[in-house]
């Protein structure tokens, strides 16, 4: 079925178009982004249960962007009377004029930016989905999660609890200017099963997730993962600490995604080029990885939680090849950064929600697959680790340092898994060294879209990332 567009947004659209026209009398560019996204979260464990309707992307509100004298300004609000847009226009003018007065008083210099083009565009895209979150039978879901939670505890010798959580969101966004009327709706869902185990080593947890641009029907897949998660929690209880050093590693698709995201995802967000915060600007056309490395970024090439028709500035989704055969091709760009750099925007202008500013952000970031099987890859490792499960990562676009905290490593000696498990693992290094050492890729690839991505330490948005199994050399600690 199609995810229907919000009747509320359709109803206020005429009022918002009037608002754009009213502000157009004072400003030389005006746009408005309005959102009306609904969803739910169900969380079940043996000790606590929870249901609410606030997910990472549920919201209802609007933000106007205006330009005058080379300066872009925004006003975000969530009270709007479509019968009286004059009231909102007056409030936007009032508060922004107060800010302009303060900026004059403090003699603040303005970063002069050209006016955004306003090419005509009409789009209404209601994307295919399964079940809508608002139609989901939460009673059935609570029962299903309760069964999974009980099974997770039962099948782990040291398990003290099993948390099962699912959230599903029906996103509706509308972007309007004098000449553009773009409306889109889609559904994404994500779920996780986590088993908590306690032993002499303390409390550890294992987890597996599911995510897709589909409805709550994907949560059924969590049930297949319960036993595997319980086993990984038990493994962590007896895991040893790794001897720090450089190793041959094979990273799982989840860790490949983390590397893609942290290494050249953040590193080529081009609003960082504007601030001279990214080394990538100097490496376009140069080698940054081995011949095997080709990496895509965009809302278009893959269907996952961050796949949309247009971004929060009304730019259509793209498929950007950032790295081809080890050579850095280009970055991704929001509309204002594109104007400043003299390039085309790539559909990567995203806001945390209507209250937040647009930044250049990732969508789906993925390494292309190769020709090998996992078994062939393991057979080539003299001494190293198969790395699985990600905890977190951090970018360093200025110096291309990388930090990935990984759940666990399975020791490989003489081409065979020994059964020894180490945890946790801090993988650090210099990005071109890490990508330059990639020597084998598996045939399959997988994307992961649970959780969120921040810029610095804020501005959380949905992204997905992934790739195949990859063999490389890395420093582990």
């Amino acid at each position: 079925m199609k995810a229907p567009f919000s009747p509320y947004l359709d109803a206020i659209a005429p009022g918002l178009k009037k608002l754009v026209a009213l502000l157009g009398e004072d400003y030389d560019y005006v746009s408005v982004l309005s959102t009306d996204s609904v969803g739910f979260v169900v969380s079940i464990s043996q000790r606590a249960k929870h249901v609410d309707h606030s997910t990472m992307m549920t919201e209802r509100g609007s933000v106007v962007r205006v330009r005058r004298g080379g300066l872009y300004s925004e006003f975000a609000f969530n009270r709007f009377d479509p019968a009286c847009p004059e009231q909102t226009a007056a409030e936007a003018r009032r508060v922004l004029n107060e800010q302009f007065a303060l900026l004059e008083e403090t003699k603040s210099e303005i970063y002069d930016t050209p006016a955004l083009p306003d090419e005509p565009c009409e789009l209404r895209e209601e994307m295919e989905t399964g079940e809508l979150p608002e139609n989901c039978d939460l009673g059935e879901l609570v029962d299903s999660f309760s069964e999974m939670s009980a099974r997770g505890v039962a099948c782990g010798e040291h398990a003290v609890d099993c948390h099962v959580r699912g959230q599903s969101t029906h996103v509706c966004k509308m972007f309007l200017t004098a000449k553009r009327d773009m409306r889109q709706s889609y559904v994404y869902s994500e779920g996780v099963v986590a088993v908590i185990a306690a032993g002499e080593a303390g409390v550890k947890f294992g987890y597996e997730s599911v995510s897709d641009r589909k409805g709550p029907e994907i949560f059924a897949l969590l049930g297949e993962k319960v036993e595997k998660v319980a086993k990984s929690a038990e493994e962590l209880l007896t895991a040893e600490r790794i001897e720090p050093g450089e190793y041959e590693v094979i990273v799982s698709p989840e860790v490949s995604g983390l590397i893609a995201h942290e290494a050249f995802g953040h590193g080529v967000e081009m609003d960082m080029f504007v601030k001279n915060r990214a080394l990538g600007a100097e490496y376009i056309g140069k080698r940054v990885g081995s011949d095997l490395v080709t990496m895509h970024e965009g809302a278009k090439p893959e269907i996952q939680v961050a796949s949309y028709a247009f971004d929060d500035e009304g730019t259509l989704a793209h498929d950007t090849v950032e790295i081809r055969n080890g050579i850095l091709q280009t970055g991704v760009c929001d509309a204002l950064a594109a104007l400043r750099l003299g390039v085309e925007p790539t559909g990567n202008g995203k806001r945390q929600n209507f209250e937040h500013k647009v930044y250049t952000r990732m969508t789906n970031t993925v390494f292309e697959s190769g020709e090998s099987t996992l078994e062939e890859m393991i057979a080539t490792v003299k001494y190293g680790y198969l790395l699985k499960g990600m905890q977190s990562g951090m970018e360093d676009p200025k110096h291309w340092g990388i930090q990935c905290i990984i759940d666990r490593g399975y020791e490989i000696r003489d081409g065979k898994l020994t059964g020894k498990v180490v945890s946790p693992i801090v993988m650090t290094g210099y990005v071109p060294d890490l990508l330059g050492s990639i020597s084998m890729l598996s045939r399959d690839h997988e994307l992961f879209g649970s959780g969120g991505c921040g810029k610095g330490h804020k501005e959380w948005v949905k992204v997905s990332d992934g790739g195949p199994y990859m063999k490389a050399k890395a420093r582990l600690g």
Binding site: A92, V95, T106, R241
Partner: protein, 428 residues
């Protein structure tokens, strides 16, 4: 918030209900160097409804709940539909019975609505006052000044409102020499603008930046004492604080028990952690927590012994606590030695990580080193790269911290913290 929402809740048949109504008005300014990239204003109200249903099965009593945010633009018909939906959903949630907070009659902190123009002006001038140089300068910064109005209403008779400022500044600095340029990132949070403190903090970061230009690769040190003197130390103290929450204790994620030590005694300083009702220029100076419980002074850990859990109403009641709350401000008392005394012998003082983390569940620590000072007698070597690892389960007992304290927004913690025998993976 429109009164019809309360009227609908009162007549809904819910066994209990609460409303959280938070309005945030914000001014924001984004700069590239000192040129204004964009200015923004926000005015958004977030109204969250929670309805409760009490029911029994056999001899077991339950209190289920369901929550949702309702847009301030919602019509009465939308509100009525949503409340009916929440009533159905609350019956699905089989949490053991507990009661909601009741009015406790404590005094209210009075607060004036903060002046966003004045606070923003203070930030703009403070950032302009930072002493920069050709080799160390501000790359970009973002200023956020908010006025928070937080009202909490419940069917049990609570109707309280807090008004307070909450601000944040994100600053990126660069240092440059002979074509080599580095950056350091900082995020400062506070109530309103502490101009002198912000200036001092940014200038300290500029000094770190100049030092990073001459950094060598961190050697493989094996085990080494590590000194923390920035807000990364918050992660260390949060390991203890988080595990004293009723949420983690009830869910068996924390094994801390009242009356027992929170770590082994291995010669470290005695740890005392207190919840504070207010802390000067904190962005968390509300008089009530998000469930309407009054915030008060409370000793959480006393001389390394767990004294009082804290947390949300449901988990606190499950542990038998009637008057608990979620604190906004936390103080960790100073230790026995001065900062200077802790900075002796061989140690690595790390002032910049990629992202230093302490896993509150298992105590594992991890972080890539972006800038550190390796002290060995009179020799100081500036280092970068490599990482730290270990577990607080082994490191906590010998942890030492300074008499002097330093405030990071709503946390007042020892200015210097020293962990003994941390594993250091070198970058060489």
């Amino acid at each position: 918030m429109e009164n019809y929402i309360l009227d609908l809740l009162r007549s809904s048949g819910a066994d209990a209900w609460t409303v959280s109504d938070v309005r945030r008005r914000g001014w924001e300014f984004y700069f590239v160097r000192h040129a204004l990239d964009q200015n923004r204003a926000r005015d958004a109200e977030h109204i969250t409804l929670t309805v409760y249903r009490q029911f029994s099965e056999g001899e077991q009593s339950f209190l289920g709940s369901a929550s949702a945010e309702i847009a301030p633009s919602a019509s009465p018909a939308e509100a009525e539909k949503l409340i009916a939906q929440l009533l159905d959903e609350a019956k699905l949630i089989r949490n053991p019975f507990y009661t909601l907070n009741e009015p406790r009659g404590e005094a209210v902190l009075t607060a004036q609505a903060p002046d966003l123009r004045a606070i923003s002006g203070d930030f703009l001038r403070a950032m302009r006052s930072v002493e920069e140089s050709a080799d160390a300068f501000i790359n970009s910064y973002e200023i956020f000044a908010d006025c928070v109005e937080r009202r909490f209403i419940s069917s049990t008779g609570i109707d309280v409102t807090d008004v307070y400022p909450a601000s944040m500044t994100e600053v990126v600095v660069n240092a440059r020499r002979a074509g080599h340029e580095i950056e350091l990132y900082r995020m400062y949070k506070s109530g309103s603008c502490d101009a002198a403190g912000l200036k001092a903090n940014v200038e300290e970061t500029l000094r770190f930046g100049r030092d990073k230009l001459r950094a060598q690769k961190t050697p493989a040190l094996g085990k080494c004492d590590v000194v923390f003197s920035t807000d990364d130390a918050l992660e260390i103290y949060s390991y203890f604080i988080d595990r004293m929450s009723t949420n983690m204790v009830f869910q068996r994620i924390s094994d801390l028990e009242i009356g027992k030590r929170v770590c082994e005694d291995a010669g470290g300083d005695a740890l005392t952690v207190r919840a504070l009702r207010s802390l000067e220029n904190s962005s968390h100076n509300g008089a009530y927590d998000e469930e309407g419980a009054p915030v008060r002074e409370l000793t959480i850990i006393d001389k390394s012994v767990a004294k009082s859990y804290f947390g949300s109403r449901m988990f606190s009641q499950y542990l038998g606590l009637e008057d608990s709350f979620m604190p906004g401000n936390i103080a960790v008392d100073g230790g026995a030695a001065s900062a200077a005394e802790l900075r002796t012998g061989r140690y690595l003082e790390i002032v910049e990580f990629s992202d230093f983390q302490v896993d509150a569940m298992c105590g594992d620590i991890a972080g890539e080193i972006r800038l550190g000072y390796l002290h060995d007698g009179d020799t100081v070597t500036v280092v970068e790269g490599g990482s730290v690892s270990g577990t607080m389960r082994e490191l906590a007992g010998s942890m030492r911290f300074s008499k002097e304290q330093r405030q990071y927004d709503n946390y007042l913690i020892p200015a210097v913290t020293r962990l003994q025998g941390v594993s250091i993976t070198g970058a060489e």
